[in-house]
């Protein structure tokens, strides 16, 4: 599994390549934890290059969502292929985590969340 991490304004953009499964889920959680520890709490995960995801991968997304939420941050998951989207759909995780069709929508959602956080 490979992670390509960049910034778009205050938003971290994480491009993920590879399968998000039992053998790689911890790696994903570690990457998010590292960013969270460095006070990067608004992360867009571009999932377009994840061809396959199982329930362990879903669990890792849940854990990442939780850890960022605890710091008043947000995880947005963008560009899922049909097979990945189905895992979220049948478990109803798509109703609990922020899932968007495009990267642009994800960045917009994160920027709005940052502005809303500052206004509090």
């Amino acid at each position: 599994m490979e992670f390509n991490i960049g910034m778009d304004g205050d938003v971290v953009v994480m491009d993920i390549t590879g399968d998000l499964v039992a053998s790689t889920a911890e790696e994903f959680k570690r990457q998010v934890a590292k960013l969270n520890d460095k006070n990067f709490h608004f992360i867009l995960a571009d999932m377009s290059k994840i061809n396959f995801m199982d329930s362990s991968g879903l669990g890792a997304c849940m854990a990442a969502h939780k850890s960022l939420s605890e710091k008043n941050g947000l995880l947005v998951l963008a560009k899922q292929n049909e097979a990945v989207a189905k895992v979220f759909r049948i478990t109803r995780a798509d109703q609990k985590l922020k899932v968007v069709p495009t990267k642009q929508e994800g960045i917009k959602a994160l920027q709005d969340a940052i502005v809303a956080g500052r206004a509090k």
């Binding site: 399968d19 499964v21 039992a22 053998s23 396959f52 199982d54 329930s55 362990s56 879903l58 669990g59 890792a60 849940m62 854990a63 969502h65 939780k66 560009k79 899922q80 292929n81 049909e82 097979a83 990945v84 989207a85 189905k86 895992v87 049948i90 478990t91 109803r92 995780a93 798509d94 109703q95 609990k96 899932v99 968007v100 069709p101």
Partner: protein
């Protein structure tokens, strides 16, 4: 009460001479701990025992857990009716691997040590892919790739993709469970097609684990933290046409079946 340790055909055997009761239970567990330092398969020959109390039962459960932790297996040879009744009354017989004689126990253990031989009944000869899975999540990706290659040769039309993706996911969840929970060092898998149906058969040595009991998706609306696990079995049930489990000779035999249908619009995800 005495213990006697021997080797029969490469199998470690611990004979119990007498009844299995409170004053001997801890000693038995300790004895097992000692003889299994370098072994993870054991026959506990209890055919001489005519009585077992709850402490003895607890000791059997501890022996079972001890060997499972090592990725091995204990088979309990037990011929006495009253002892067997304790196992059945407490439903321990659904957890422990029992045999009616020492010979039967050795046979069961030999089968378990050999690992599971999975197969798909009814599949065309030479048309079954067989995979052996070790105790490592990293082995699941190549196993899934082999299953995918087999399926895509059989079902070439892209319109089958949605059905096949469901099958790959359910098979992966089943393999995840075997690696994570069974403790088995060697799991046998066979995948084959019968008509338009793909069949996944997995044989996992070890304690009984029945994944076909009704599994519902974790509740995401409970107000508590979102769950990070507990989805795998529910996903299998959701996506497969049929999920069956059988426990035979110390092995779990799981069979998943999925009819592969064409989907006009595979969808683009979101």
């Amino acid at each position: 009460m005495r213990f006697n340790v021997s080797i029969d055909g490469g199998i470690m055997i611990l004979d119990l001479r007498g009844d299995l009761v409170a004053n001997i239970a801890d000693a038995m567990v300790e004895q097992v701990r000692m003889v299994t330092v370098k072994n993870r398969y054991l026959v506990l020959d209890m055919t001489d025992a005519h009585f077992m109390d709850s402490s003895g039962l607890k000791a059997c459960m501890q022996v079972h857990a001890l060997l499972m932790e090592k990725g091995g297996l204990a088979v309990f040879a037990c011929a006495n009716e009253s002892v067997n009744r304790v196992f059945s009354m407490t439903k321990a017989d659904q957890k422990l691997v029992l045999a009616s004689s020492r010979i039967a126990a050795i046979k069961k253990l030999n089968n378990a040590m050999a690992g599971g031989e999975a197969d798909v009944d009814g599949a065309d000869a030479g048309q079954v892919v067989k995979i052996r899975l070790g105790q490592d999540f990293a082995e699941i990706a190549p196993a899934r790739a082999a299953i995918r290659e087999y399926c895509e040769q059989r079902f070439t039309d892209p319109a089958y993709r949605v059905s096949l993706d469901d099958f790959y996911l359910a098979a992966t969840e089943a393999m995840n469970n075997a690696v994570e929970h069974s403790g088995a060092k060697s799991v046998g898998i066979a995948v084959g097609a019968v008509g338009d149906m793909i069949i996944f058969n997995m044989v996992t040595p070890g304690a009984r684990f029945d994944p076909t009991a009704k599994r519902t998706m974790p509740d995401l609306d409970s107000g508590a933290d979102l769950p990070e696990g507990g989805f795998g079995l529910a996903i299998i049930q959701e996506l497969m046409d049929s999920v069956t489990h059988e426990y035979r000779d110390g092995k779990n035999i799981l069979t998943l079946k999925k009819t592969i249908n064409r989907h006009k619009e595979a969808g683009n995800g979101i």
